[in-house]
Structure formats: structure tokens, C-alpha cells
Amino acid sequence: MTNRNSNLVLLVAAGFVVTACVTINIYFPAAAAEKVADKIIDEVWQADDEAGGREQPREKSGNDTRNNKIDNKPDEVRP
């Protein structure tokens, strides 16, 4: 009897875990989407910066080498 009860508990617990996983997967990952948006905007508006303009988005991963190139520009080309 005890064994049957513990099996039931295990089953319910497993059910919670599976539900949690599904829930995680269907939610829109807002923070990750923001990062992707920033990366795309940075690329699309890059021509702007080459023309001597806009400040670049900063919240990006460190492996973006374009930032290094931009940071090496002399200050006078930036407003």
C-alpha cells in the first residue's frame, strides 16, 4: 500500500516537472529577443555610424569585433 502511494507521489511530481518544462518553452524569451534585436539593429544601422553618426548599442556580447574597430576611431568623427 505504502509502495503504491509513493508511486503515486512520484507520478504527480514527474507530472509537475514535465508541465514546468512545457511552460518554460512556450513563454516568449523577452531578454534573449532584446539581445537579438540589438544585434540586428546594430548591423542594419551600422552604415549610419560609418557616416560619422550614432552611438552604438553597448549591451552586447564581447565577441563582437566591430565594436573594437569603432572604438578605435578618432573621437572627432563622432558628435
Binding site: 516537472v17 518554460i24 524569451p29 534573449a32 537579438v36 540586428i40
Partner: protein
Amino acid sequence: MTLISLGFFLCISLASAVDFKASSPAVTQLRQNMKQRHSQLIPFYDSGAVGLTRDGLIVLRDSNTVPLSGRQSVNILVTAENQDRNALYREIALANNHPEWESDIRSTFAQRWIKWARPGWWYQQENGSWQKK
């Protein structure tokens, strides 16, 4: 107990595997198109003729600042840009196998375009009114 531990482990693995993709041939092509078009749009953003809308698009908000001869070309630019932006949001949603995320992606982009807009550019606020950055 082992089963529960395994379940949690699986759950954590799945959660960490949830990432946001933005790479597909269509997305790459759209990014390229928009990048090339942007340099032509800059003067119109600067003059305030074109503004960034709250729904992640652009619009010719003040045609008076554009000479009559140039209005048609601005309209063509704005239409093409909006087609690409709409397609970009849709394609990113599809790249993630979540077509229903399109509106969330659109609103995320809408906020980020405005956040990174250059000072002097016009954008639409949440209530629909226009604001100079």
C-alpha cells in the same frame, strides 16, 4: 527519487536550451536589404520627415520637409523598409518555430529601434503622439 532528479535535470537542460534564434537565409537577406537602404533613409530621419512608429515600422510623418520631386522616392523607400521589417519579424518568429511570437518580436524591435535612434530623430510614443529624441 531518481526519477524526480532526472526530471529536474531534463528540465534544466531544456530551459538552458531555450535560446532565441535569428538566423535563416530569409533573415540574412532582409538584414542585408535594410542595411543597404538605411544610408538613404538617414537624411529623412534627421530632418524629421520620417519617424519610427510604436509598432516597429517607419512612416512619412512630415512630407512638407521633403521637396516635391523627392516625395515619391521617400515613399518608395518607406514602403520597402516596412515590407522588410514586417518580413523580418515574421521570419524571426518562424526561425524559432513560434509563429505566434511575431507580435512580441515586433514590440521588442519597436522599443529597441527607438532606444538606439539618434538624437533628433522622431518616434511615436505609446499613446500615439510624436516625440523628438
